[in-house]
Amino acid sequence: MNTTVVAQLQRQFQDYIVSLYQQGFLDNQFSELRKLQDEGTPDFVSEVVFLFFDDCSKLINTMSTSLEQPDNVDFKQLDSGVHQLKGSSSSVGAKRVKNVCISFKECCDVQNREGCLRCLQQVDYEYKMLKTKLQELFNLEQQILQAGGTIPQVDIS
């Protein structure tokens, strides 16, 4: 439609995604995801990512319930939750979430409830943060597509 608008949006998109990488929200795995998205599956990334967010919210709920009792925390269950979360976040390239999960797991291993609670809060914060950021990104994508442009390839390195 309007090439200048598209170009502007594209630049905006590029800057934004680069900033997400630079700020450590995302890592290469996210690029992998984007590679997998093609004409056949145009919404692959957002599908996976939102599945991930749903997963996060569920897991975090479960974990916070199990962390509620101060005395008998089921660390095994907690651990499996963290493991799940770590696997998923690693798969989608949610770097910050993954990093928190790593320390979360360490806390779990030594059965440090305080640490776990702290990590849980962090995970909650990080995934919500990422969710907002990615929503923004997808919005930009939509705008570009609506303006008749194509999603630019972004060279992260």
């Binding site: 290469n28 795995q29 690029s31 992998e32 995801l33 590679k35 997998l36 093609d38 599956t41 692959f44 599908e47 996976v48 599945l51 991930f52 997963d55 499996s80 493991h83 799940q84 770590k86 696997g87 998923s88 690693s90 798969s91 989608v92 390239g93 390195s157």
Partner: protein
Amino acid sequence: MVCEMETDQIEEMDVEVLPSMWPENVGTEADKQFNVEKPAGDLDTLKEVTIEETPTIADLTRLPELMNSTQQGSSQLTNLVKQWEYMQDNAVRLLREELKNLNRQREEAEAKELKIIEEYKFETNEPENVPVLDETSDLFRRFRQKKRDALVDSKKIEIYEEFDTVAYWKQKALNLEKMLEASTERERRLIEKLSESLKTMESQSAPVQELTQNLKRAEGFLHFILQNAPIVMGHQDKDLRYLFIYNKYPSLREQDILGKTDVEIFHGGGVKESQDFKREVLEKGKASKREITFTTDLFGSKTFLIYVEPVYNKAGEKIGINYMGMEVTEQVDKREKMAKLREDNAVRKAMESELNKTIHITEETMRAKQMLATMSHEIRSPLSGVVGMAEILSNTKLDKEQRQLLNVMISSGDLVLQLINDILDLSKVESGVMRLEATKFRPREVVKHVLQTAAASLKKSLTLEGNIADDVPIEVVGDVLRIRQILTNLISNAIKFTHEGNVGIKLQVISEPPFARENALNADTEEHEQNENAIPCLFKKYMQASADHARKYGGTGLGLAICKQLVELMGGQLTVTSRVNEGSTFTFILPYKVGTSDDYSDDQDEFSDMADHQSEPDDTAEGYFQFKPLLGSIYTNGGPGIGNDFLPHKVMLTSPIKLINGFVADPSNNTGQSEMLQLENGGYVDESKLETSSGHCPESAHQYENGNGRCFSKESESCSSSQASSEGGTLEMESELTVSSHTEEEKAETDLKETPKPKILLVEDNKINIMVAKSMMKQLGHSMDIANNGVEAITAINHSSYDLVLMDVCMPVLDGLKATRLIRSYEETGNWNAAIEAGVDIKTLENEQVSVRSTNRLPIIAMTANTLAESSEECYANGMDSFISKPVTLQKLRECLQQYLH
């Protein structure tokens, strides 16, 4: 100074003489009137003396000098004495004069008395106005005149009576009587004064005593002070002979010292120095201090602080020196200790900072290396994407030019990938992360594959030769991948720098040192101008023989460094001998173990299968390979008496999957014979020598072979008698070829397209991971079945046959490791008993499955979040074939599929 004082005194004395001429009272009057400025100077001689005394008290400070009995000191003393004598003389003179005056006055008084008496006589005998004797009257007149002069203050005798009456004379006599009395009184007073003066005379001798006392006091004071002081004082004359010495702790008697010089008295270190120092002071005429350490037999090693000053006589000539020494041994020791401590401290500090710097540098280096490794890793992923895509692209329809461009792209990409892999390998080895795997492998096959691979891309007319000694075991245990890497590296280097002739590998067992195998690899490179002095650089990273070489041959220079490190990691050593224009020989020696095999029966089964399938001559024990350049794809595999034509490759290429599966499923397949051989070897560990050699003529290759004979190569019974045919070796070799050679690979992949799609099972519990992996598989052109845990996986495997399983390690219900163990157990035993025991519910037609699948090994690839070696070891220990670290990427999946599916 002293002289000045003396003259002053003399002047004063001269002045003093004058007032004595005056009558006492008049003199006083005159002084009061005219000498107001100097009121006391003239009269009080005693005062003068006391004034003189003050400087002598001040001189107390100079008493040490007196004590030292120098000329200066004695002259001072004599001055004092002289001065005292002067004063004494003066006093005596004054007294005498006074005495004289008094005497005169007395005489006058007597004369007066006489006259009075005479007058009285006159009055009684004759009247005044009738003088009888002129002389008497003359005398009388003179007396009266004199009386008037002398007695100024005496009242005139008043006579109220009539002259020449009795009363008159009586009164006169009375008056005279009074006058006489007064005169007598005066005389008495004068005598008193005289005696008083005499007394003061006596008391005037006191200052001399005082002086002596002072001297004594000073001496006492000095003794008191110096009593315990570690001080030596002395005076030496011009020739530095002692004239005087004071030493609190004398170790020598005075007569041993006096009149002698230092050198004559003492022997040992420092004596000469002190003597010289004294002489120097004497010559320069300037007092100075110095610290001298003496080492003498007399009092051992002691340090003295010595003060030396020159001494002059009155004429200003040098007559000797005063010297004073104080023992400061302890202080010097302490000072030196302190200095040493300080020095040590400084040195330690310097070392510390140096160390810190080193640590810092090391840390920096480590960080830099780490960064390089990380970066390389980061680069590798996208790059393999590029190369992979380019490869896929090359399968599509392209015109000639496009294909050419694409080929350039692929080869460049491969080059970069290789470089990055090299860097990663190096950093792995350096950081100690590199772990070696211990797997059984066949050295002959390895050599063959390496050569074949090299031959496949050979663009020069070189002959590649492999020569393996007969006693090299069929199978050995080691890290085949790394050994292959080393060989490939060396061979590609050899090929790169050899322009014509042979490049070859020789493998030999070396019997010494025991329990070690030596792979001696000789790469003989023709034409390569390798200077002797370039050799030390060979194994250094990024180093090439010269800049010219770099331009001419390219490459990163990492290859040999990696080879060396790998060989050393395996406990061996890599050496090189080189002669310009004759070639180079790289030799590496590795210890090795002989594997024991326990899957005898399986092998037999397989071999019989294989034998049915393809009756090919055995090459497991074959010791010689030769490859001509791939121009026209002509391979010669010249075994001893065994001809090898091109047929097997063709066969392989047309039905790759089955054969490769056969290989992959059982990499340890073996012949009965070779196994026997290993058993014969039993616990012994042999050494073999692997050697690549190249030369422009076959003779040279032989030469090297002979040359290696010196390396304790052990000739054992030929094992070529092992006849049982095994296709495994050949096939493995071919499969290797297809992977590493692009042209071959293309064919292979084209062939793949025609075969049915492989069945892949993904065992994973994480939905998101499943989603991603599935999408990736789709991208790679494959579909997958999904199992959410180990139990589901076992069920799925039981239901249908898969070509590949991707297994998550950490899963609920049944984890990947356990599941894999159960699957392997099933493969071995043909039943799921173990799984059932473990609580897995198996409900299938077992018999049917057993017959079909029991002998095939299903490739199971672990997917692990942990890339550490422990984890991979665990995977292998549980029967997994390989592992992919999470998160799974397209590239990793592709590599995995390439390795296990064809």
